[in-house]
Amino acid sequence: MEIKREPLNGLTTPSAITAPSDFRARQLQARDMLRGDLEGEALERYVKESVLTTTVEKAVAWSQGNSIWPLTFGLACCAIEMMSIVGARVDVARFGWEAFWASPRQADLLILSGRVSVKMAPVIRRIYDQMLEPRWAISMGACCSSMGVFNNYALVPADKFLPIDVHVPGCPPRPEALLHGILRLREKIHGTERDGWRERYHAVGTEEVLAEGTSASDAAINVFPGGDTAGA
């Protein structure tokens, strides 16, 4: 495939833009535009060159997804791995998520890093309720996703009392795995989420829950109609 570089919409070349005199001229033009002095052909050309149109939702989502403040909140083993994503090797600051904040009122993201006991669950729910919208929650590790190896009297899975956006598997997950989960959450916030392995392997029809209007006989083998696992 041939790749060609050409100026967009007849824009001047980058070197021309960076010329000081041109830069000053563009500044003045922008000031005129904001004052409402620009009109006619000059306005048309200005809009074509300089204005990027989008929806407010997209712009907000873009900024939200690139500057998340997670809550400083550690539960158990996974908390140590959560701390190490701030470290030099994984460095979550590359994505603008490194501002771990101690107050739930200013935090956007709750990373449940560890096992949730029946004693801790109301506290976590309370912390989550204190967080302001928009807010997200990542369930990190097997324990708070599904109680992991300790499926016993003392624990409760996080899904039972909290809407979880991303589950990160592992016991404990590597920092890279948590970073992957964070990036998936960013895609989710941006509204560009993917279907994961189903998309990658073109595995259409392997969904566990049927879409509206399809019958079980049309679908793949592991679909349980109406959540009924008896036929599995």
Binding site: P157, K160, E208, G227
Partner: protein, 170 residues
């Protein structure tokens, strides 16, 4: 570690002080010396051992000997730091109204472990200042470490069963 003879000598010595205190001795693998004591006189025995040099309470924990009776056991792992010598004091109590005197007067460090034994096995330590549950929530019913308490657990939520499983958040 005291050998089997020394353990017997210690038991004799303690019986001389209080004839009803020692119910038996047990010398097990790994040179484990166990004194089986009458729960009514456990503080007596601990005081005597404390005077003998076992001044450090390394661990205090409960055991459920189901189906043997008396079912519950409270074990005191004592340590003599001068001679690097360990001895275990074991008191067995029944599950209906299990009571034993607190060792916090002798070993202040027994505070948390005794509360844990109460939390997990329901053994009440009489004279303890703060006999409450320590690990489980206050309103928890039952004593989870007893052998007749079920392990518990909940079904895991998947996409196919989240509509039917109890407790789906909404």
């Amino acid at each position: 570690m005291p050998d089997a003879t020394e353990l017997e000598l210690t038991a004799h010595e303690l019986r001389d002080r209080n004839a009803e205190s020692i119910l038996g001795t047990d010398f097990g693998r790994g040179d484990r010396a166990v004194l089986l004591v009458n729960p009514a006189h456990v503080i007596d025995v601990l005081t005597a051992l404390h005077a003998k040099g076992y001044t450090f309470l390394a661990s205090l924990h409960g055991v459920d000997y189901y189906p043997d009776e008396p079912r519950l056991g409270v074990l005191y792992e004592l340590l003599d730091m001068q001679n690097v010598d360990r001895i275990t004091v074991k008191a067995r109590v029944h599950t209906d109204d299990p009571r034993i005197a607190t060792a916090t007067g002798l070993f202040p460090g027994a505070d948390f472990p005794e509360r844990e034994v109460y939390d997990m096995f329901g053994v009440v330590f009489e004279g303890h200042q703060d006999m409450r549950r320590i690990l489980m929530p206050e309103d928890f019913e039952g004593f989870p470490q007893r052998r007749d308490f079920p392990v518990g657990g909940e079904p895991v939520l998947f996409t196919y069963n989240e509509e039917t499983t109890y407790g789906k958040w909404s």
